[in-house]
Amino acid sequence: MSGANLFFLQLINGLNIGSIYALIALGYTMVYGIAKLINFAHGDIIMVGAYISLLCLNAGLPWYLACILSILVCSLFGIVMEKLAYKPLRKASRISLLITAIGVSYLLENSFQLIFSANPKPYPGFIDLPTLKIGAVSISANYYVTFIVSVALMIILNLFVQKTNMGKAMRAVSEDEGAARLMGINVDNTISLTFAIGSALAAIAGILYSNCYSPINPTMGSLPGIKAFIAAVLGGIGSIPGAVLGAFILGMIETMVKAYISSQLLDSIVFAILILMLALKPAGILGKSVKEKV
C-alpha cells in the first residue's frame, strides 16, 4: 500500500476512534458543566451499555431492540447513580465527590465482573452493510456507521441544548444553579436529565465500540473513559463543541502516534499531552476560564 493510502487509512482510523471518544466526552462535559463533577464512572457506562446489548442480542432480540433497551437501562443507571451517590454530596467538598465517583466506577466494574466473570466475551457485530471503497482503501461498515451515527447525535444534541426549553434549562443550571432555581427551573430534574442523556450517549458509544472491537470485558470502559475525559479537557470541559473537537483531535493524535511514532509509548504521550494542556491552558481550546470568587 502506498504511503498516501496508508495515511488515508490512518485518517479513517482516527475519525473512528475520535467519534467514539466524542460520544463519551459529550457525557463527561455535560455532567461536568452541570454538576461540576468528573464522573469517573462515566466510562463504565460504556461497558454497561455493551453488556446489556450483548445480553439482548444473545437472547435473540433484534438489534434495534437491543440498542433501545441498552440505552434505556443506561439512562436509568445514570439517573440512579446521580440520585444515590452524587446528589447527597452536592454541597460536599470536591475531593469527597471525586472519591465517590471513583467508588462508583469500581463498583460498576467489579459487580459486572462478578456477574459476567472477568473473561472477555465475543460480541456479535450486527452492522451488516457493504464495505465502502475509496480508491485503494476499503472502509468497513462499522467505521462509517460509527462516524455517521456520532456526528448525527452530536448535531441533535447541540440542537437540543440550544433550541429546546429543556436544553436551555440545562444551560441555565450549569451557568448558575441558584439563579436557575429562582427562575423556576426544576434543578433536580434537569440534573437527572443530563445524567440520562450522557449515559444514553455512552450506551451508544459502548455498542458502537463493541461492534468495532469485540470481545468485551468488564473493564473495557475505563481506558476509553479516561481518554474521552482527556478529550473533553483538551476541548474545554463544559463545552459541547469543545468535547467533539477535543475527541477528534485526540483520536487523530492517537492513531498517528501509533502509526508513525511508537505504539508502546502511546499512553505516555497522550497523558503527557493532558498534563501539558492542563498546566498551560486548563480552560481547554474552547472553554472559558473561571476565577474563584473571593
Partner: protein, 319 residues
C-alpha cells in the same frame, strides 16, 4: 508543651519498642510462621504507603491518584541499585531505600510543578496521568525487564527493617503535621485563599506535602521490591493507588492513627477471609462511597461512629 511533648514521646517510644520486642519474639519462637510474617511485612509497607498518601490527600486536601507510580519508582530504583552492586546488605539496603525514596521525591517534585497551577479534579487527573506515564515508561525500559518483569531482587526486607521504617514514617509524619509546616499544609486544605492572605506561601507547602508523600511512597516501594523480589509494571496500576486511597479514606482523611489502623485491617482481613479476594475491590468501592456519604449524612455518620468508636476513641479532630 515541652513537658507534654516529652511525656508523649516516651509513651510513643515505649509502645514502639514493646511492639517490636513482642512481634520479634513471636517470630523467633515460630508462633508467627513464615506466611504470617509475610502479612506482617505487608502491614508495615501498607502503613507507610497509607500514612504518606494521607499527607497529600488528608492533610493537604488534594486527591492524589499516582501513589502507585511513586511507589514503583522507589521499587525499581532500589532494586536496580541492590542488583547492580554487591555490598553487604546492611550497607546496601538502607542506601537503596534512601535512593528509592529520593528518586520518588524527585518525581513527586516534577509532578508538583504542573499540579501547582491546578486544584481539585484537575490535580487528581494530573497525578493519575503521572502514575500511568511512569508505569508505561517502565514497561518500555528493558534494563528493568520491561513487561516481562524484573527478577532476582535480593530478599532484604526483614521484619526489623519494615518495622523500623514504618515507625520512622509515622513519627516523621506526626512530627511534620505538628510543626508550622504541617499547620501551613492543613491551612491550604481548609482555605487556600485565607492561607495566602495569612502569609502562607501555599505553593511552597504544596510542594513540601507532595515530595514528603512521594518520598515515603518510594521508600515503601523499596521495601516492597525487596520483599516480593519480583517487580512488574502491572503491579503498580491505578488499582494499587486506589487501594491505598481506600485505606486512607477508611482510616479517616487527616488522621495518622486511623491510617495505621485501617492499613493493618485491610491488609490482614483479606488474608483471614478466604474467598474474600473475589469481592475485595467490590467491598473497597463500597467503602469509598459509603464513607463519603456518611461524612455528609448525620444518620449514617452516627451509625459509622458507633461501629468505629472502639478504636477511634482517643482521636482528636486531627493529630
Amino acid at each position: 508543651m515541652n513537658k507534654e511533648f516529652r511525656k508523649q514521646l516516651t509513651i510513643d517510644l515505649a509502645t514502639v519498642v514493646i511492639g517490636y520486642l513482642v512481634l520479634g519474639l513471636l517470630i523467633r519462637s515460630g508462633v508467627i510462621n513464615a506466611y504470617s510474617k509475610g502479612i506482617l511485612l505487608m502491614v508495615c509497607i501498607n502503613v507507610i504507603l497509607t500514612v504518606s498518601l494521607n499527607i497529600t490527600s488528608g492533610f493537604l486536601g488534594e486527591l492524589a491518584l499516582g501513589h502507585a507510580g511513586f511507589m514503583a519508582i522507589g521499587a525499581y530504583v532500589s532494586a536496580l541499585f541492590t542488583k547492580s552492586l554487591n555490598l553487604i546488605p546492611l550497607v546496601e539496603f538502607p542506601v537503596a531505600i534512601l535512593l528509592g525514596g529520593i528518586a520518588a521525591l524527585i518525581a513527586g517534585y516534577i509532578v508538583s510543578i504542573p499540579a501547582l497551577r491546578l486544584r481539585g479534579d484537575y490535580l487528581a487527573i494530573i497525578t493519575l496521568a503521572a502514575g500511568e506515564i511512569i508505569r508505561n515508561l517502565l514497561k518500555n525500559l528493558d534494563i528493568v525487564g520491561g513487561t516481562k518483569g524484573y527478577t532476582g531482587i535480593p530478599n532484604y526486607t526483614s521484619f526489623t527493617w519494615a518495622y523500623l521504617i514504618a515507625v520512622i514514617c509515622i513519627l516523621a509524619s506526626k512530627s511534620l503535621i505538628a510543626s508550622r509546616h504541617g499547620r501551613a499544609i492543613i491551612s491550604i486544605r481548609e482555605d487556600e485563599i485565607a492561607a495566602e492572605a495569612s502569609g502562607i506561601d501555599t505553593n511552597r507547602y504544596k510542594i513540601i506535602g507532595f515530595v514528603f508523600s512521594a518520598f515515603f511512597a518510594g521508600v515503601g516501594g523499596a521495601l516492597y521490591a525487596h520483599y516480593l523480589r519480583f517487580l512488574q509494571p502491572g503491579i503498580f496500576t491505578l488499582d494499587k493507588s486506589i487501594e491505598i486511597l481506600v485505606m486512607v479514606v477508611l482510616g479517616g482523611m487527616g488522621s495518622i492513627r486511623g491510617s495505621v489502623i485501617s492499613a493493618t485491617i485491610l491488609t490482614v482481613l483479606p488474608e483471614l477471609l478466604r474467598g474474600f479476594s473475589d469481592y475485595r475491590m467490590l467491598v473497597y468501592s463500597l467503602v469509598l462511597i459509603l464513607m463519603m456519604l456518611a461524612k455528609h449524612n448525620d444518620q449514617l455518620r452516627a451509625l459509622f461512629d458507633k461501629a468505629l468508636s472502639s478504636f477511634r476513641r482517643k482521636e482528636a479532630a486531627h493529630e
